[in-house]
Symmetry: C2
Subunit: 218 residues, 2 copies
């Protein structure tokens, strides 16, 4: 039997939608960040504080992915930003078609950038492109300093690592230097910001990066 090489990658349905989302965001010149972490690392708290602290400087919209409930979207709206909740009904990650639908419902003309808060899961969301500009990984110091070694995929693919809950550093065994070194071994150019969304420590470094990234896109 002869083999035909069609010489062209056939895109999955998810990849097709991701490409479509990516083109829409590029046309509209919007930065879009796909935020990925374990459950409970503080994604929503980081986004809510970022929205509040950058009010008047950066107009942010949020796509919230959760298995159930709209707890997170409510928190984002209370912080003052438009939020579209996607419930995955058991699925362990957001898909590009879901993000495509959510983008239709966000007031893009009035926004400078979009955060996608993925389902809390350090593994599966890594494998599904959504059309985002960059991935952001959040790691809480309470989760332990072996996580880059044990879950390398997301650390290798992210533009930024936010090491959150540094207010707990005195109470947990967590070696920031080890995490930074291991993350840079996986991903030479990764930007790393130790922060506490609770106390505000280190948040200004993250805001500087974010404002610059949004400006470069516009």
């Amino acid at each position: 039997m002869s083999k035909i090489n069609i010489g062209k990658k056939i895109l999955s349905a998810n990849e097709q939608y991701a490409l479509q989302n990516s083109r829409l965001l590029a046309d509209q010149k919007k930065l879009c960040l796909n935020v990925i972490s374990s459950p409970g690392s503080g994604k929503t708290t980081i986004l809510a504080k970022t929205i509040t602290d950058l009010a008047g400087k950066l107009r942010i919209g949020v796509i919230e992915g959760d298995i159930q409930t709209d707890i997170d979207a409510q928190r984002i709206r209370q912080a003052g930003a438009p939020a579209i909740q996607i419930n995955t009904n058991g699925a362990c990650h957001l898909s590009a078609p879901q993000v495509s639908t959510a983008l239709e419902h966000l007031p893009l003309d009035n926004l400078d950038m979009i955060f996608i808060e993925n389902v809390g899961n350090l593994v599966c969301p890594t494998a599904f492109e959504l059309g985002e500009s960059f991935k952001i990984v959040v790691l809480s110091v309470a989760e332990g300093d072996d996580k880059p070694a044990k879950y390398p995929g997301i650390f290798a693919k992210s533009k930024v690592l936010l090491i959150n809950k540094i207010d707990l550093l005195a109470h947990v065994d967590f070696d920031i230097t080890k995490v930074e070194a291991e993350s840079r071994r996986l991903n030479h150019g990764i930007q790393i910001f130790p922060i506490s969304a609770k106390t505000g420590e280190g948040m200004n470094n993250w805001y500087d990066w974010l404002l610059k990234a949004a400006k470069q896109m516009a």
Copy 2:
């Protein structure tokens, strides 16, 4: 077109292996607990401390599931128990065929019970039966008290909830009463033990349950 109801559930490959594992464990009268949580909730620390503290009372073997590395299996062996490491190479949960192979390599005759430490993931492992006697869910207080509402599946299916890292309670916003009420709403009979594997607080209640459960199986 006529429809034929074959009146019999066709088992998936995973379910077939799970059934086989379950029969093997029942024949050998071994308790087997499938431990599920987010990354960094403290599963390995709980198991290592349980192994050390119950030395001479309960002979424990461990099947370790990780995407990469054998860090956890090394920690378990240092605590004095036999451990079989399964690397899922990117997969987000353990499967019953993997557990079947691991069971062949554990010295079952010399063990009273087996822990399966699943891949750190609060979502996907919930859907894959491994042949275990019960599921155990671990939640660290650093993850926040909204987790039963947001990830109900595993709380609904577990026999025991270990609320870990209670030594951090003074430093985080976590309402234990809310978590207990929400977990019992999802799962009336769930056993809940607030513990700190770090300080040892509350561990005796967990050990009492575990020794009793292993005895009932033998």
